[in-house]
C-alpha cells in the first residue's frame, strides 16, 4: 500500500514538474530528507527515486524560462569550489574506491542545494520549501514524540535506516534544526488549525529530541533556546510557554534520561567521549601527515587507516569539523568553514536590513529561523558526523536567496514610499498653477 502510494505521488509530481520545475525541487527535498522510500516494505525501497526526480527536475528546469543562475554568486561559488576540492581530494583518498561511493551521494546533496537557490525566486516558493523541510523532519518528530510519550521515554528514538538520520544522534540534531522552522511557520500561518497543528508538532518534536538520548542534541537544543530567548522581544511570554512545555516533558522522562544528560559533565571518564577524542586526534594526525589532502569521504571509518595511528580501534569522526578535516584535509576544512560563514553573514545582512520594518517581518523571521537552525547544526555538529547533511547546503543557498528577496522588497518599499510624495506634490501644485 505504501509502495503504491509513494509511486503514485512521485509519478503525479513528475507530471507537474514538466510544467513547473519547482514542484520537482519540492519533491526532491522530501525524498532526500524524509527518505519516504525507507518507510515502505516492497518494490519502492529499491527504486532510485531521488535520481529520477533530480533528472526530470534538472531537465525541465533547463528547457524552461526559469532563472539559470543563482542570485548570490559568492555562496554558490564557495559551495562549488568545496565540491571541486572534494572531487580532487577523492583521487588522493586513503581508499578511493570506497570514497567515490560517498562522493556520489555528496554531489547530489550539493546539487540539490544549488538548484534550490536558483529556483527559489519568490516568497511563495521559499515558504513552500520551508514547509516541505518541516514536513520531512516533522514526520519523524511527531512519530518519535508519540513513541516517547507512549513508552515513557524508556526507549530510544531512531531515524530511518540506511539514511543520514538513521543514528539517534543525527536524528536528534536534525530535529533540533527543524524546531525554528516549525515556530516560524506557526507564527506566520493564518489558519487557526494549521497553527494548532504546528504547535502540537513542535511539542512532540521536543519530546522526540528528549527520546533520542543524544547529548549533542541536548546541547544544540540549549543553544537554540538561549539564542531564541535572547533575540525575542516577548521574553516573559516565551519563558512562561517554555516552562509549560518543558517541565511536563522533563517530568515524564525516566531516570535513565537524567543519567544520560548528566554524563555530559563526566566527559573525562566517559568512554564514548574518550573515543571521540581519539577520532578527533586521528583526523588531525591524518590531515597533517597528508596535507593538503584528507582520507576522502568516510575514509575515517576504515580500519586500515586507524591501524596506522591507534591499532585495533576504530570510531566514526563524531564532529563535522574533524570529519571534514580528516576526510577533506586542511583546505577542505577551510572551504567548509567559508561556506558556513557565507551563510551566516547573508542571514545577518537580512537581519540588519529588515530590522524594525514591520512590512518586512516575514523576511526578518525567516532569516531568524534559518540562523537558529544553522546555529543548532554548528553547535550540535561539533559532536556529530553529518558534515554533508542536505540542510546545510540548502540553508546556505537559501540565505543568499533570502537576502535577494529582502532587497527586492526593500527596493519596492522605497519606491512605494517615494511615489506617494510625488503624487502629493503634483496634486498640491497643479491647482496652485491653475489659480
Amino acid at each position: 500500500m505504501r509502495d503504491i502510494a509513494l509511486s503514485l505521488f512521485v509519478f503525479a509530481g513528475l507530471l507537474v514538474t514538466f510544467r513547473f520545475p519547482f514542484a520537482g525541487m519540492l519533491i526532491w527535498v522530501l525524498l532526500s530528507i524524509m527518505n519516504p522510500h525507507q518507510e515502505t516494505y516492497s518494490f519502492a525501497q529499491n527504486i532510485q527515486w531521488n535520481l529520477i526526480v533530480a533528472v526530470v527536475t534538472i531537465a525541465s528546469w533547463l528547457v524552461s524560462r526559469e532563472r539559470k543562475l543563482p542570485p548570490d554568486g559568492f555562496t554558490t561559488t564557495a559551495i562549488l569550489v568545496l565540491l571541486a576540492w572534494t572531487t580532487l581530494n577523492t583521487f588522493f583518498a586513503f581508499d578511493p574506491a570506497w570514497s567515490w561511493v560517498y562522493w556520489n551521494r555528496a554531489w547530489k546533496t550539493v546539487a540539490m542545494g544549488v538548484l534550490a537557490g536558483i529556483l527559489t525566486t519568490n516568497r511563495v516558493r521559499f515558504q513552500a520549501l520551508i514547509w516541505m523541510v518541516a514536513l520531512s523532519l516533522g514526520y519523524y518528530g511527531i512519530k518519535g514524540g508519540i513513541f516517547t510519550l507512549m513508552t515513557g521515554g524508556t526507549n530510544r528514538v531512531f531515524g530511518p535506516p540506511d539514511s543520514m538520520l538513521g543514528d539517534n544522534n543525527q536524528l536528534g540534531l536534525a530535529l533540533v534544526m527543524v524546531l525554528p522552522l516549525l515556530h516560524f511557520l506557526r507564527v506566520h500561518s493564518a489558519s487557526r488549525w494549521i497553527r494548532a497543528g504546528l504547535l502540537f508538532s513542535l511539542v512532540l518534536t521536543l519530546a522526540a529530541i528528549f527520546g533520542t538520548y543524544s547529548r549533542e542534541s541536548y546541547i544544540a537544543l540549549g543553544a537554540v533556546v538561549i539564542a531564541f530567548w535572547l533575540s525575542t522581544r516577548k521574553k516573559l511570554r516565551y519563558s512562561a510557554i517554555g516552562a509549560l512545555v518543558f517541565i511536563p516533558l522533563l517530568m515524564l522522562m525516566p531516570a535513565s534520561f537524567y543519567e544520560r544528560a548528566a554524563s555530559i559533565q563526566q566527559y573525562n571518564t566517559d568512554v564514548s567521549f574518550q573515543s571521540r577524542l581519539d577520532s578527533w586526534w586521528v583526523a588531525w594526525r591524518y590531515a597533517m601527515d597528508h596535507a593538503p589532502f584528507g582520507a576522502g569521504f568516510y575514509g575515517m571509518n576504515l580500519q586500515g587507516l586507524w591501524n596506522q595511528y591507534i591499532p585495533g580501534e576504530m570510531h566514526a569522526a563524531h564532529s563535522i569539523y574533524f570529519q571534514v578535516l580528516g576526510e577533506q584535509g586542511i583546505v577542505g576544512l577551510a572551504l567548509y568553514l567559508l561556506v558556513l560563514l557565507a551563510g551566516v553573514l547573508r542571514l545577518r545582512s537580512v537581519h540588519r536590513e529588515t530590522r524594525n520594518i514591520p512590512a518586512l517581518r516575514w523576511e526578518y523571521d525567516a532569516a531568524q529561523a534559518l540562523w537558529l537552525s544553522l546555529l543548532a547544526f554548528c553547535v550540535g555538529g561539533a559532536a556529530a558526523p553529518m558534515a554533508f547533511f542536505d540542510l546545510l547546503f540548502l540553508w546556505v543557498m537559501l540565505s543568499g536567496t533570502l537576502l535577494y528577496i529582502a532587497r527586492q522588497a526593500l527596493g519596492q518599499r522605497r519606491d512605494d514610499i517615494a511615489a506617494p510624495d510625488t503624487y502629493e506634490t503634483q496634486a498640491v501644485e497643479l491647482p496652485r498653477a491653475g489659480v
Binding site: M1, R2, A5, L6, F9, A12, G13, V16, F20, F22, A23, L26, I27, L30, M34, P36, E39, N122, R123, V124, R125, F126, Q127, A128, W131, M132, L135, Y139, I142, K143, H188, S189, A190, S191, I194, A359, L360, R361, W362, E363, A409, Q412, R413, D415, D416
Partner: protein
C-alpha cells in the same frame, strides 16, 4: 496507524506542491489557500 500517518504525510506534501503551484509568482502575503500567511509582508501591491 503508522501507515495512515505515512499516507497523510504524502497528502500534505501534495498540498504544499499544489499551494505553491497555485500561488507562484505572487507575494506570500497575497497567497491564498490553506497555507496562506496571517500578516502583510513585503511591498504593497
Amino acid at each position: 496507524m503508522n501507515g495512515l500517518f505515512f499516507l497523510a504525510s504524502l497528502v500534505w506534501a501534495g498540498v504544499i506542491v499544489l499551494w505553491c503551484l497555485r500561488n507562484d509568482r505572487g507575494d506570500a502575503a497575497g497567497a491564498k489557500g490553506i497555507l496562506r500567511l496571517n500578516e502583510p509582508s513585503g511591498p504593497k501591491k
